[in-house]
Subunit: 307 residues, 2 copies
């Protein structure tokens, strides 16, 4: 059940049509850890923060079974900071400010105690950092999942191609799948992307759900129809955390079990968007999660015998 999570731990400042956050804790690996730790512990975290990163956050994560031995703390530097403003549709956003800070020179070191981990979740980060982590692992994990974004397709495509060759599952959103494949049809895009390395492709479509492709198979999971999406920040990372957390917990990397992992991820993401940042993820219990997963069952379940 050992899982390594790589990604940013950072600060965000978020504006939505419904409100504005202070500078709050965010970052891909933070969301992944809060989400995945509901299903699998320990989480072997690899990241970097500045001296400004709150000690209480690190303590809270430790309390959730997150092993921080792989998190470098640079006392004299500042943590990565991103601020953005969401449009009314909550699907598109403008970046207002990006301060790379400690992330600009991040040289990840995999602690010895992390060696032998069975699962590796590469959260969105520079492909060169993701490559470095893979290279440091003495045994290849049973499953490597990669999240990335359009920014790296534009700025570090050569490295990204190298990472793609080494991973089992790629997660991107629909526009990123189109950009990466130069195909508009997502079915065609999936075929192209699976030629680049990953045997499994998850395309996240936000409020329109998620698709899982593998060879000629396809699975679709809806997003839960919500009265309000308060803050979409971190929803994709939270989805990734639920997915890999479920896989690490069950140690089952079959297509069938990945489908269930996507439902778990979708359920976790539906909590994430209910409040600013990681707020909601800190509040929910396993019982809340089980109820939410049952809502997904009800949402898509129909009786084929009636046809």
């Amino acid at each position: 059940m050992s899982l390594i999570v790589v990604g940013s731990m950072a600060f965000d400042a978020i504006e939505t049509p419904f409100g504005k956050s202070d500078k709050i804790v965010g970052g891909a690996a933070t969301y992944i850890a809060w989400s995945a730790s509901n299903f699998s512990q320990p989480i072997n975290q690899i990241s970097v923060v500045g001296g400004d990163f709150p000690n209480e956050e690190l303590k809270a994560l430790k309390g959730r079974g997150v092993n921080l031995d792989g998190v470098q703390i640079k006392p004299d530097k500042k943590s990565f900071f991103w601020s953005g403003r969401y449009h009314l549709d909550m699907n598109t956003r403008d970046t207002l400010e990006t301060q790379l800070n400690v992330l600009g020179e991040f040289d990840p070191v995999v602690p010895d105690s992390f060696q032998g981990s069975e699962f590796l979740m590469l959260g969105n980060l520079a492909p060169s950092v993701q490559l470095s982590v893979i290279a440091q692992l003495k045994n290849r994990p049973k499953l490597i999942v990669l999240d990335t974004m359009n920014f790296w397709m534009e700025s570090a495509m050569e490295d990204l191609e190298k990472v793609l060759k080494q991973v089992d599952v790629l997660m991107v959103n629909d526009s990123e799948a189109r950009q990466l494949s130069a195909q508009f049809s997502l079915v065609k895009a999936a075929k192209e992307i699976m030629k680049m390395g990953p045997k499994y492709l998850i395309i996240k479509k936000g409020e329109h759900g998620a698709l899982l492709f593998h060879e000629n198979q396809v699975f679709f999971a809806p997003a839960l129809p919500l009265e309000e999406v308060f803050d979409p920040t971190g929803a994709g990372d939270t989805f990734a955390g639920g997915f890999i957390g479920h896989i690490a917990h069950t140690r089952d990397i079959s297509f069938e079990n990945m489908k269930t992992g996507i439902i778990v991820g979708s359920a976790m993401a539906s909590f994430c968007v209910e409040k600013f940042g990681t707020t909601r993820l800190r509040e929910i219990s396993r019982a809340d999660i089980d109820i939410r997963i049952q809502q997904f069952v009800d949402l898509v379940n129909f009786d084929i015998a009636l046809v």
Copy 2:
């Protein structure tokens, strides 16, 4: 199993990024009849055409169990004509030309032989025409389903509000649901719209699937991920035909069975978009439909026991 279908029978000329059609047979009631007749016959059709409408089309429909006693033929007039051009995303389109012709003065007459029909599908048409048909029915059908569009919200809202009060199920697309309710969230939109009359609301989201709302219940059906959408014209009407055809066949108006109806409708719509106009709907067999429905089962089916 008696079903009345009301709507246009017309000509379309369609441009897509993949090609351009001649002036071909279209119209909401045409698509609905081709689709619904796979499941329920006869279809009691109410419409109006000009002298230019091809006799072979009328014959072909008769051959599919479509009773044309309610279709007025105006020999000296021309059929309704629409031409449009789809954008690259195939979700948005520009209307190039609209000629109302016979539709401008359509005064529907319900034949005596249609009285007592159990199901009524009001395809997209002027709300005043839809109201007239309802008013002429001596016994209220077991289920009335209404399709409408933004055009009527803008030009005939008063009549539309009257129709809404008299129907059981409303079908609209997502932007129309937002327009009708003045709510951005589809969950909130559904609540508002169900206050206007319909107890059931189906929101069609094109390639993103469809939602069924009833009281506090919600069901989601995906669209089949397709390599290519060749021509989306009539997909919504074909969906409606599959839905009402299934309901009329089973005579079961429960929420459970409506879910299955939505899967049937989605399967039918997935055929419609594969070729121009009604071409594909004329080709497919019941066996093709069954295979397609099974693909929907496979697409959403997951094992909750694995959680």
